[in-house]
Point group: C2
Chain length 292, copies 2
C-alpha cells in the first residue's frame, strides 16, 4: 500500500552534533520562537512524554535529548545494561510533536582529553549524593554541557528525581545558565509506582512489591497531616518498606529546598524514599502539604 | 569653559548586573555586531589594554569585565590587598573604545547559597595548580560564569598566564561554551619584566631584580636553540633566578599544550618560571622555537 503523501506526524530532525543543534535552536529563537528542552537518557515512558507535552504547550519548538550519560553512573552501577531504545524513543517523541531529537555520541559530549567537571555541594551532599558518589557531579556536568548545546528558553525535568532538580537549579543559578528550569509532577502507574526506565528491570514479583515506595510516601503524608513527628513518620515509612521487601537506603522528611533536617515543622517539606528490590534500585518522593 | 558637545571619547556603559550585560550583548549580536570580551581583575596595565585593542580590532563592540575574583585566591594569598583602581580602569578602557565595563558585585557572581564549582584536571594539575590549590578551580568557575554573563563571540586572554589559558581552553571545549578563545602575546617592560598588576607590590630593589625571570627565559631559549637537554637548561634557569635573588617555585620546559614532560624534544615546548621576590610572587613564560 502506498504511504500517504503527507505523514500525519512530522518527523523530528535527528541531530548528533552539539554545534549543529545549537545553531538550529539559535536560528529558531532568532525568528522569535520560544524553545523548550527535555533532556533524557532515553527509554522513554509517560513521565518523559508528559515533559514533552508540557514543553510543547509552553513553547513553539521542542528539543528532546537522548543521551545515556556515562559520568553519572558509578563503576558498579547499571550503565551498560541501562535500557536503550532509540528508535521507539524517536517515534514517541515524534508523536508529541518535538522538532529536534538531539542524540549525541559520547565523544562529542566528552571530547578527547576531557578534564572538566561541574561540582555542586549544598543540595547534592546527602541522600543520593552519599549513596552514589560522583553521581551528581556527572549530572551537573552533563546538564551544563547539554544546556550550552541546546540553549533553550526553558528546560523540563521530572519531580521524581527531586534532589536532582535541586542540584540542577543550584548549578543553573550559580553559573548563570540562561535557561529557565521547570519541574513537572511525577507520573505514576495505577498502583502509584513512579514511572522510571529502571522499572523495566523488575521481575513480576518485585514489581508487585515496588508500589511499597509510594505507599510509604502516602503513609508519610497521612502522618504529617495528623501532626506526628518526623522521627515517628520516618520509622513508619522504613517499617512499611521493609514489610514490602524493599531494602531501605533512606526514608526521610526534610526541607524541600535544601534537603536539610527540618528546623521548623511548618516549613515546606518533602518526603524522600530510596530502596532496592533485588538488583533494582528505585527512588521516589512527594512534597508534603504545608502544615497550618 | 563649556564642554565640547561631542566628547572625543565615548564613555563605556557601566553594568553591574549579569542579566543586564547579557541582554545588552545579545541585543548587539542580534543586530549583527560581533562582540569581544576581555575579562580582567582590574588594576589595568598595558597588557590588559593590548587585549582591549586586539578585541576592538577584531570585533564591533568590546566588553571588559573588572572583578577581583575571591575564589581564585588561597586563604593566605593577596586577595584583600590586590590593587583596586576602578575609576582609572574605566578611564583606560574608555580610551580604548570599549562599549561596556561589566563590574559586578561579588554577590551577583556568587549568589546566596552558592555551591557550584567548575573543576578542571589535565592542564590544571601541575605548576600553579600544585602551588596554589583551588586556584584554577576558582579561575575556571569565574570564567565559565563570566562567559555565560557576557556571551561574546570571542574572549581575549594574555599569554603571561599560559597555564591559565590552557585551563580556560580546556573548560570551554569540555563544556561547549560557545565563545572563541584568543591568547595574545605578553606585554613587557623595557627590561623584559612581564606586565602584571602584582608588579606594583615590588620595592625598588625587588623591581631591579624582577627582570631575572625574563632573563632566565631568554637563557632557556638560547640553550634550547643550542640543543642543550631540558635538564641542563632547567638547572641554568634555576641558577640564574637564584643569582638574581628570586626564590624559585619552578623553572621548567614542558609540552606547551599539556604541560607534561617532553617525550620528544622536537615537540612544541614552553618554558615556565615562577618565583618570589620578598612578599611578591611572579610568573612568566615563553614559547620556545620549534627544534628542527
Amino acid at each position: 500500500m502506498p504511504q500517504p503523501a503527507v505523514s500525519p506526524v512530522a518527523k523530528p530532525i535527528i541531530v548528533t552534533d552539539p554545534i549543529a543543534i545549537r545553531e538550529q535552536v539559535r536560528a529558531a529563537q532568532a525568528r522569535g520562537r520560544r524553545v523548550g528542552f527535555v533532556p533524557t537518557m532515553g527509554a522513554l515512558h509517560e513521565g518523559h512524554t508528559s515533559l514533552v507535552d508540557r514543553a510543547a504547550c509552553e513553547c513553539d519548538d521542542v528539543a528532546v535529548s537522548i543521551f545515556v550519560n556515562p559520568t553519572q553512573f558509578g563503576p558498579s552501577e547499571d550503565f551498560s545494561r541501562y535500557p536503550r531504545s532509540l528508535e521507539s524513543d524517536i517515534a514517541a517523541v515524534a508523536e508529541r510533536g518535538a522538532r529536534w531529537v538531539f542524540a549525541p555520541e559520547a565523544e562529542s559530549i566528552y571530547p578527547p582529553g576531557w578534564a572538566t567537571r561541574v561540582e555542586v555541594e549544598g543540595p547534592a551532599r546527602r541522600f543520593e549524593g552519599e549513596i552514589r558518589p560522583g553521581h551528581f557531579s556527572g549530572v551537573a556536568t552533563v546538564v551544563c554541557r547539554l544546556l550550552l548545546a541546546v540553549p533553550a528558553d526553558e528546560a523540563y525535568f521530572g519531580a521524581k528525581d527531586w534532589q536532582q532538580t535541586l542540584v540542577i537549579r543550584r548549578m543553573v543559578r550559580d553559573l548563570g545558565v540562561p535557561t529557565g528550569i521547570t519541574v513537572c509532577p511525577t507520573v505514576r502507574e495505577p498502583d502509584g509506582l513512579a514511572m522510571s526506565s529502571r522499572n523495566a528491570y523488575l521481575t513480576a514479583a518485585e514489581r508487585s512489591r515496588a508500589c511499597g515506595l509510594f505507599e510509604s510516601l502516602r503513609l508519610a503524608e497521612q502522618g504529617w497531616l495528623a501532626g506526628e513527628t518526623v522521627a515517628v513518620i520516618e520509622r513508619a515509612m522504613a517499617h512499611h518498606l521493609a514489610e514490602r521487601g524493599v531494602t531501605v537506603d533512606y526514608a526521610a522528611i526534610v526541607d524541600r529546598d535544601t534537603l536539610d533536617p527540618l528546623t521548623d515543622e511548618t516549613s515546606p517539606a518533602v518526603a524522600l524514599v530510596a530502596g532496592r528490590l533485588g538488583m533494582t534500585r528505585l527512588i521516589d518522593n512527594i512534597l508534603l502539604p504545608l502544615r497550618r
